[in-house]
Symmetry: C2
Subunit: 406 residues, 2 copies
């Protein structure tokens, strides 16, 4: 058997050999659903619900005392520690807080005074949020924003500014070489702010080893933290102490209960904690991360690559154009495929229990979340796609009806 | 019977006549607890848990489709509508998002270009978060921060800057005259950003009628939204369209699914939505607000005043110094009392089921949340205080032991 299944029997064999196979049982996915949308919102592992219920019970029974008795007061930091293990960071280098948008803003604002040039750079097809936040920060700070062509960050690092850059492109799934970028940045007084939203949980990330200084990311995709689960900030120990957040809330204060008029930031990434975190959502996230405890990053990456490689081979055999890198090492956890009739195809797939993601005008994205997916189920989902395309069964009125999109 | 009970029989009579009495049954407070800390973290009404469970179930069963099927996509806006009714705002003038810290930052940054002078003003004993955020915004924007003496905002409005001001002081509970401040601000090109954290749910707020333009506030105190429940932004219709948020996340975009590189803000306060909101925490908040449905603001204010006036009379009779205004109209929902031995007294109260709040060095705060408290129970709690003081039973080693504070 090869690592990449080329038959259903292969796929079944891959499931048998899968070191992550038992994790599937931590999820309670609806029957008959092949969930290829884990790159958008991951499903809940049972541990997420358990921690959420416990937090609700703590609120009910121990009321305000739960800030101490249930450990809410340092839950952001402890959850940050869980994430540190998933991105190759050290304890104290990650804190959970706010949203990706807010965290990108905080980090970019804090980085600007430390870069050689007070300029923000962002690629023109970077995730829209990153572009908006760069513009928002420019508006309030007076920093200039320069747009770079797609993939143009590396060549522009010699300008010595602050660069917002996704580690995995949200459309193509193309992976950036973090280590190479950081070497170039270090040579030119540039600082890169990595957006890890599409990278965490599917790549064998080694932020510290790769020399990354600053990053933020969401937790509701491959980390399965829940809808709108709070995001994270990574700030390497060698730079964290130099960073001043523009959003100094009480949770980032070294003595949050002293009620000082002046602000003394906490050590490390914890200074990027801001206001009171949403404990219920945070508890669910912390529980969800327990489902990843001890899962080797290398195994997560290998499985995401194997599943997506299998899918690429099959959709190419269906005559479809793959928009993601076919070389494994250059691809994150999802695969984008061009389909002019993508919208009704995705509806037809859904009618058969296969959930995928349509992006206008003509792209279908399949997410290959390695924690809960099974090879055989993905194989069957691709069978369904082949059948829908071959029979043109997507061309029925009910599959063309438009709902509000997500 | 007077409105302010002067005997336990009076208190029982007040409970009988209380138009809010039935709301107590919406809460499931632990037996034997007099919860006078609702100004810190309100207890959960049953509706909060119900909505939270429903959101968890939606995540489990309908997965990413819940953004549409469960209405998550506009939950921030709908919850904002629930809060609008509690502060005297119109629909569309309130959005729920982020924390108070982040919302103060967004509003102050957006207000600065519209004020006559690009200067932030904050009183020197204003809530620390508000001071920190003013300093953080100054650091990134270059705006100057000027400290005002306690209560000095009104007299400084002629400088025409942006003023951060609590509607109810977090220590003394003193109420600011919003209408008078706004008249003065309008005359001088000043903009006031009201922090409503200690005001919402206990005052008969009429933001619109009082001419208020901008406000933010938390939802976990008298609104019982849950630990770290997301906060809100109020932006009056006459000014919202002129405001540009420095944190333009996708949820504040007029076409969030168009994935435009450029940013077109939504109409009204909704432009202050930023990243993806924490849906689980938000669902609990929305449920909690249902417990206030139809509760007249005037009744909430009247009951908070009656309870706190009763408490003031009784602690004065115990020889204690009251640090809050004794005049009802000048007082919010809590009462601060000076007690040199406040720490062990609060522990001794807790041992008898009375939860109150100690603030170093010598202040005890009692919160009088009108939605769930009963007059007779508060009367009994004050009996317990009187007994503890008279017997000096607070002076036992176990009441002096220090735990981590909240």
């Amino acid at each position: 058997m090869r690592q990449i299944p080329t038959s259903r029997a292969d796929a079944v064999e891959c499931d048998r050999a899968d070191p992550l196979a038992a994790r599937h049982g931590l999820f309670n996915l609806p029957d008959g659903i092949a969930y290829l949308v884990g790159h958008s919102l991951g499903p809940p592992p049972a541990t997420a619900g358990a921690r959420l219920n416990a937090a609700m019970q703590d609120w009910q029974s121990d009321l305000v005392r739960s800030w101490n008795s249930a450990g809410w007061i340092d839950l952001s930091e402890r959850t940050g520690g869980q994430i540190a293990a998933l991105i190759g960071a050290e304890p104290g280098e990650v804190i959970v807080a706010d949203s990706v948008s807010v965290n990108l803003f905080k980090l970019a604002a804090a980085a600007l005074p430390l870069a050689r040039r007070y300029v923000l750079f962002v690629e023109e097809d970077e995730f829209p949020t990153d572009q908006y936040i760069a513009a928002g920060l420019a508006g309030v700070s007076g920093a200039e924003v320069r747009r770079l062509p797609s993939g143009g960050t590396f060549d522009a690092l010699n300008a010595g500014g602050v660069y917002l850059k996704s580690a995995v492109n949200y459309r193509s799934a193309e992976v950036a070489d973090i280590a190479a970028h950081e070497r170039e940045a270090a040579a030119h007084g540039a600082l890169i702010l990595w957006d890890l939203s599409h990278a965490t949980g599917v790549l064998d990330l080694a932020l510290k080893a790769d020399g990354a200084r600053l990053a933020a990311g969401c937790t509701y995709k491959y980390l399965n933290g829940g809808p709108g689960a709070p995001a994270f900030v990574y700030a390497a120990h060698d730079i964290a102490g130099l960073l001043r957040t523009p959003l100094p809330g009480w949770m980032g204060h070294a003595a949050p209960f002293a009620f000082d008029g002046g602000y003394t930031p906490r050590e490390g990434a914890a200074r990027f904690a801001s206001g009171t975190p949403p404990i219920l959502s945070l508890a669910a996230l912390s529980g969800a991360l327990e489902a990843m405890d001890g899962a080797p990053l290398s195994a997560l990456q290998a499985k995401a690559r194997a599943l997506s490689a299998m899918a690429i081979a099959r959709v190419q055999a269906m005559g479809l154009e793959v928009l993601s890198p076919v070389e494994d090492a250059k691809r994150g956890g999802h695969v984008s495929v061009r389909m002019a009739e993508g919208y009704p195809v995705v509806q037809a797939l859904a009618a058969r229990g296969v959930m995928a993601d349509f992006r206008a005008p003509d792209t279908v994205r399949f997410g290959f979340s390695p924690l809960f997916l099974r090879y055989a189920a993905v194989w069957d989902a691709l069978d369904a796609l082949a059948d829908i395309l071959a029979s043109k069964s997507w061309d029925q009125p009910q599959f063309h009806a438009r709902a509000k999109v997500t």
